[in-house]
């Protein structure tokens, strides 16, 4: 029997829009929202 080739990650993203949904929420949430929140919180308040 022929061995099954592993499916490349990019092909998984073409086939599974739910995986795309997950990554599409995580990546911008990390680079824009969470990092942005850290920037705001870490600002010192004027005395």
């Amino acid at each position: 029997m022929r061995e099954k080739k592993p499916v490349p990650l990019i092909q998984l993203l073409y086939d599974d829009i739910f995986l795309m949904l997950l990554l599409g929420l995580i990546v911008p949430a990390l680079t824009y929202t969470i990092w942005g929140l850290i920037e705001i919180i870490s600002k010192k308040v004027l005395p």
Binding site: L13, Y14, F18, L21, L23, G24
Partner: protein, 553 residues
Amino acid sequence: MAEVLVEARTCPVTGLRVVKHAENLIKVNAVFAVLALLFGTIGAILIALTRWEAIHLLPTDLFYRMLTFHGMNMLVFWIVFFEGAGLVFASTIVLNARQVAPKLGYLAVILMILGFLLTNFIILTGDVNETAVMFTAYVPLKAHPLFYLGYILFAVGALIMCILFFLNVYNAKREGTYEGPVPLFTYGIAAAAVIAVFTLVHGALALGSAFLWSLGIIEVVDASLYRLLFWGFGHPAQQINLAAMVSVWYLLSYFTVGGVTPSEKVSRTAFLLYVLFINAGSAHHLLVDPGFGAPWKIFNTSYVIYMAVLASLIHCFAIPASAEIGQRKRGFNKGLFTWLIKAPWSNPAFSAFFISLVIFGFIGGASGVIMGVEQINMKLHNTLGVPGHFHGTVAAGTSLAFMGLAYYVVPLIFRREWLSKFWARIQPFLFGGGLFLMAVSMNTLGRLGIPRRVWETSALVVPYKELLQATLGIGAVVAFLGALVFILHTVLTIIFGKRVEGKPKFPEVVQVSNPDEKTSTPGTIVLAIIFFLYLAIMYTINWYWLSRVWEVR
């Protein structure tokens, strides 16, 4: 598994199964999209004739009220209602699938309609100090609670539409109505839906907290936090448009000339790049914000967003290439540009598609990439160049592309023959031509130092100001006529048009007999090189202008 019985008909042109609930949802969304477009268009002409200071039509308070009215209807309601129709179409009709939980779909549309009516009501009738807060409604500018409530109701309805889209696709896969990956159009709309979920969550957080603050339930909303969350909504909302518009371009290329992308994988990769990286573009709005450090700004607006720009450049090649492939297969094979010269320019769906593609790329896309650079942004931030950019993207790009698709929606979904071929044929040229003139004038005025969102600029001495304001106003009048022709023609056709029996007569849906034949695209390669040169020249000129701001001796 027991088969689910659903009421449906078969489209005589495309052969696709049109499910009744899906058809109803598409119709309701389309009707309210056109109504929002009418509202937004009325606001547009009043604002433009005020910014043309030789006319200076509106008094100050009405100007800001209309600016809010125009922004909300154009940037939110018209576009999202139309995209609601697109979400249903892509996840049911294209996949030969049924509409999951149709009652929930109707509830979502009702929420959207309530939000649309409530927001417009309060903008038009409320105290101007509480309602003329504009699209951004920046804290600490406090709006009337009903303004936020309308915004939130609409956003919740739109979020339910997105959830239903994913459930429809899941259900279609489970019931085996399609095999393998979803078609490219549905994949593009899925990318738009993913961006929409991120967008609407941020919108709910920003506007929800502002709503509680306006009611006095919470004492304060941090202005910096509001801006971060609001722009996680405000700019990605336009990226939903981008992904939806690009999907519509692929679809229109297929319908009008039988065009297919030169590489399905590359086009899908470009959509994927949008999903992963384009929402970071929101940081452009905060480039002059003191609350965020340079690493956050530069990482998001340079490193991350250039991956999304790469995606746009891929589509910028693949879409005209798809039209060239379709045309060459139809026999227009001579030389470099016979395919373009002999394209079906009398088909309004094609002219709308191609004009929107060109204006989006040369005016909207190029200006967006340039003003996204942190240093150049220092010069262009809050100038008239910013609305100049998004009238090239959202108005001439997305709106005209959606109008192009509407030329098929009316005969195929509403089953009505268009009343007039003449008005349909000239409308994209009027709307696109007017917006081109307007967007170029706004971009130029912005670069000369004219600010956005101001009622008058008499104190500013700027070269060619009066001339450019006049070309802005004339462009706006022409675009207004184009929009009005579209709205009236669509409404009158739906009410009085002859019912379609069998295949509609106009516009034509092209069937290519040899879809798998390989074709080269030399004409598009030349067009792409011209675009690259233009982008490089504009980029360099803007850096030169920046260098002239502070003279170093």
